[in-house]
Every structure is written in structure tokens, then in C-alpha cells.
Amino acid sequence: MSRWLLARGLHAVSTFILVVCLLFFLMRAVPGDPLSRLSEDRPMAPREIAALRARYGLDQPVGRQFAAFVGGALRGDFGTSIEYRRPVTSLVVDRIPATLLLGGTVLVLNFTLGLWLGVRQAVRKGSRTDRALEAASLSGYSVPSFWLGLLLAWLFAIHWRLLPPGGMHDLLLDPAAPAATRAWDLLRHLALPALTLSLVSIAATMRYQRVAMIEALRFPFVQTARAKGITEQRTVWRHAWPNALFPVITLFGLWLPVLVTGSVFVEQVFAWPGLGSLAAGAVSARDYPVLMGTSLLVSGMVIIGGLVADVLYAALDPRIRHA
């Protein structure tokens, strides 16, 4: 097991190193560099541009730039943001809590609601409920997330005035207010982005669970359980369901990229101060170091997600780690 774990860990590390190289050379392959856009917006003297180039190391040979980039990345230094004039690392670290809060909420919603609905669908496979849920989840998956976000913001925040349209805190709220008031305020701000992201991403969870559960219900022991007179409720949840949880682990690895992609749009729509809106803002500001830093962080998260899924798999199924 430890040997398998070591090999898998090394694979993850080498993948990340490759990602770093890939991102750097892709950036160099695109016409123009981060500063060529800067001088488009306001005319700059060639001397000024040259000074800026020197400051960001863009006048160095590509090999040296690459060495500097990799060396910096290994030390956790991803350069300085052009827009904020602050180290990318500290900008990104500031945004992590908000993203974790949103992502965590969506994860919990997705896995409780998605698994439950998927099991319900499998139990009533082919019924009207099954088909209606399938259609609903597929529709959520087919709508552009930012448009769904705009629609929900319009409905709940502007039309019905039930929830705040964006941000993470009420700016007028006294910072010395009791913790319960502040928590309630946070929850109200969290509701719409979390709902939007859940709606667009729950389809995958439901479908995986549905298929896995249909397989599980075919096992002979389910029939045995029924024959013994165990209630259907108990047969489904205590006998069949644990066997249908296994494939869902795969989702862990597949699901992170979807969440991260969706959060770029959803955080932007709701001005949620997370990594996604940082990346979206960096696009319009042409803030290349920030874009690079968030891409690297997000890729690292995806690699770790895949690693966690594989380790969980191996922990539950000895055949994999001995293969």
C-alpha cells in the first residue's frame, strides 16, 4: 500500500511540474506579451515600456525567464499583479476562504441532495418521477451558468427583494454586530451563488448515483433482503446503497473542474470575492500573473482531487492497489 501510495504521489507531483511547464510555454506561444496590451490603452514612451519590461523580467531570454518562473513557483512566488501591484500569492490566498466556503456549501448540497435524488430515481427507474428529475437536472446542466445566475439575481434580489444581489457582506452592517447577525448576513449572501452553482452541477452527481444504484439493486443480496421481509426502505438504504457509493468517488475527481469553471462565472455575477471572480477580473484587466497564479492553483486542486479519489478507491478496494 505505501509503495502504491508513493508511486501515485510522485505521479501527482510530476503532473504538476508538467502543468507549470505547459502553462509557461503556452503563455509564450500566444502573440503579444502581458505588457503589449498595457500600452494599447494609454500611449507610453518606448523608454517607459522598456523599463516595465525589465521590471517584469520580460527582456530576458526565454530560458532564463522559464528558470525564474519555475524557481519562483517552487518558492510559492508567482510574481506581482499588474492591476493590484501586490504579490499574486497574497492576492490568491486572500480569496481562498470565500471560494472554500462557496465550494464547500455546493459540495454538501450536491452530495446530499444529488445522492438522495439519484437513489430515488434508481428505485423508481423508468417512472414519471425518474424522467422528470432527469429532465430537470439535464436542463440545469444545459443552461449557461452566468445567465442562470443573472436570472436568479433578477428574480430574488430585484423582483422579490428577498436576498442581496451580490457581495459577501452587507456593507452597512456594523462589524461589531453579534456573531449570529453576521452569520445570518453571510448566509443570505451565500444563498444565491450556492444555489446557482448547485443547479448547474448537480446533474452529474444524480446520474452517477442513479446508474450505480441501478447496478446495486440488481445484486442477488437485494433480492435476499427483500425475501427475508426487510422493509423496502431498509433494503434500499442499508443493503443496496453502500454498494452504490463506490463509483460516486470517481465524481470527486471529475467534479472539481466543473465547480471551478462554474465558479468563475457565478462568482463574477454575484461579486463573490473568491478565486473565480479574481480570475474573471484578471481577464478584463489583462492581469497575466494573476491569471497564471489562479490557473496553477486550480490545476493543483484538480490534481489533489484526483489523488484523493484514487486513494479513497484503493482504501476501499484492495484489488486496485495490488494491481
Binding site: L26, L150, A279, R286, S295
Partner: protein, 279 residues
């Protein structure tokens, strides 16, 4: 291996796939035919009537610049659908070639390609596209399609490779080799046809993904550049008038949702037909 024609036939007997195909045909037909009957998208707009709700004269209303929304949804559909089709054709072709090469030659070629694919798959496609597109002012349509297509083949190459690995040592491939068939003939005449099923599924689902990506990129200002109309671009343009003229963004969003839904329905049915176990 189930012959492709039977897969398509079996998928075609499923209700959801039929519904999907019907919607998709309607959308394509609308995009192809409607612009013939409607005013040209570049025609002088009727500036007296900006942001008007749907009416008999303008079935989907007019946008903030007084342009007929129906005309733009139809002609934007041509662009969005064509971009998705070409980009997906590109990524499926690249994916098939790399998958064939990796699976057939194995060894160092396989290791190299698959390590790169592993790394590329770790970067979410949206971020890859943001990095490639962010520095490009007013990107030409062809370059946009090329970049979207070039970032979508990683998963496909894995699929094809798996299929090739499964078939490489089968008797019929050995027989072909014994008869003197070269690598090219074995790959394209004997291996590739057997991977067409999974490729078709990947292509169908890929269309939906690209349409959503194009919409998302347009929302961030990196998509197809105006004045070329596209569904994503229309929603982006209408963002400011979401409250006063909702029809200007509701109809392109509906067009996106219907198209993506229909290709996903078709793709799912094809997948179920290929692998009846999962259904």
C-alpha cells in the same frame, strides 16, 4: 463490437434521443432558413424602436440598439453552431490521431503523449482558454475556432487509446499484420472504425460543451467579437438591459439551453446504445 449503424439505429428508437434530434433539427433549420426571410442583421436599425418587447413586427422584440432579436438569434445561431461543429471536428480528429499513435506504438510514444494529456487534463479547459485568449485583442474567428478545438482533444485521445489497447492484440489485427498491412492501414482501416462509437459520443457531447464555453467566454469579453453575432455575445451585450429588456438575453439563452440539451440527449442515447449495461 456493435456496428455503428446499429448503435445509431438503437439510439434513434429512444424517446429522449428523438426529442433531442427533433429540437436540434428545428434549431439548425431555423438558423439556416430564418435569416433568408428576415431583415439583414446589418440592416439600418429602426432607431425609434429600441428595447421593445416582443410584438408581431418583432417576434422576439428588439435589443437596446434597436436590432431585431429574432434575426440576431437566427444569424447568431449560424455562427455558434458552425463554430461548435468545426471546433469539435478539429478536436475529435486531433484526439483520434494522438490516441491511435499512443495506443498503437506504445512505449515511449505512449508515455510521452499520455503524460502530456494527464497534465493538460489537470488544467480546467476554461482556464486554458482564458490564458490563450486574454492577450489577444479582437481575435479572428478562425483563430478562435482553432484554439477552442485545440484545447478539447485530451479526453478523446484517452478514449481512442483505450479502445486501441483493447483491440491491438486481437486476432483480426494480427491477421491484418500477418498479411503485410502497414501501421497506417492497421490504424485507419482496422482500429479507427472500431473506435467510431465512443468518438461519436464524445463529438456529440463536445458540441454542447463548446456552445456553453463560447457563451461563457463571450460573457468575459473573450468570445466571438462583434459585430459577428453569436448567442453568447448577445447575452453579454444585453447584460445591462437585463431588467428593462429581458427578451434581448432570454431568447439567446433559451437557444443555447435548447441546443445543449438536445445534443446531450442525443449523446446520452448514443452512449446507452453503445453500453446497454449502464442504462
Amino acid at each position: 463490437m456493435i456496428p455503428l449503424a446499429r448503435v445509431v439505429g438503437s439510439a434513434g428508437r429512444r424517446g429522449p434521443a428523438r426529442a433531442g434530434a427533433a429540437i436540434l433539427c428545428l434549431v439548425i433549420l431555423g438558423a439556416l432558413v430564418a435569416p433568408i426571410f428576415l431583415q439583414s442583421p446589418t440592416a439600418q436599425p429602426d432607431i425609434q424602436h429600441g428595447g421593445q418587447p416582443p410584438s408581431p413586427g418583432h417576434l422576439m422584440g428588439t435589443d437596446q440598439l434597436s436590432r431585431d432579436v429574432l434575426t440576431r438569434v437566427a444569424s447568431g445561431g449560424r455562427v455558434s453552431l458552425a463554430v461548435a461543429a468545426v471546433a469539435v471536428a478539429l478536436s475529435v480528429t486531433i484526439g483520434a490521431l494522438f490516441g491511435l499513435a499512443a495506443g498503437y506504438w506504445g512505449g515511449a510514444v505512449d508515455a510521452l503523449i499520455m503524460r502530456l494529456v494527464d497534465a493538460a487534463l489537470a488544467i480546467p479547459r476554461l482556464f486554458l482558454l482564458l490564458l490563450l485568449l486574454a492577450l489577444w485583442e479582437r481575435i479572428p474567428l478562425a483563430a478562435f475556432i482553432l484554439i477552442v478545438g485545440a484545447t478539447g482533444w485530451f479526453g478523446t485521445s484517452r478514449l481512442v487509446r483505450a479502445e486501441v489497447l483493447r483491440l491491438r492484440e486481437t486476432d483480426y489485427v494480427r491477421a491484418a499484420r500477418a498479411l503485410g498491412a502497414g501501421p497506417g492501414r492497421i490504424m485507419f482501416r482496422h482500429l479507427l472504425p472500431n473506435a467510431l462509437g465512443p468518438l461519436l459520443v464524445a463529438a456529440t457531447l463536445g458540441i454542447g460543451e463548446v456552445i456553453l464555453l463560447e457563451a461563457g467566454l463571450s460573457f468575459l469579453g473573450l468570445g466571438i467579437q462583434p459585430p459577428t453575432p453569436s448567442w453568447g455575445g448577445m447575452i453579454f451585450d444585453a447584460k445591462e438591459v437585463l431588467v428593462t429588456a429581458p427578451w434581448a438575453s432570454v431568447f439567446p439563452a433559451l437557444a443555447i439551453a435548447l441546443t445543449v440539451l438536445s445534443v446531450n440527449l442525443i449523446g446520452d442515447a448514443l452512449r446507452d446504445a453503445l453500453d446497454p449495461q449502464g442504462a
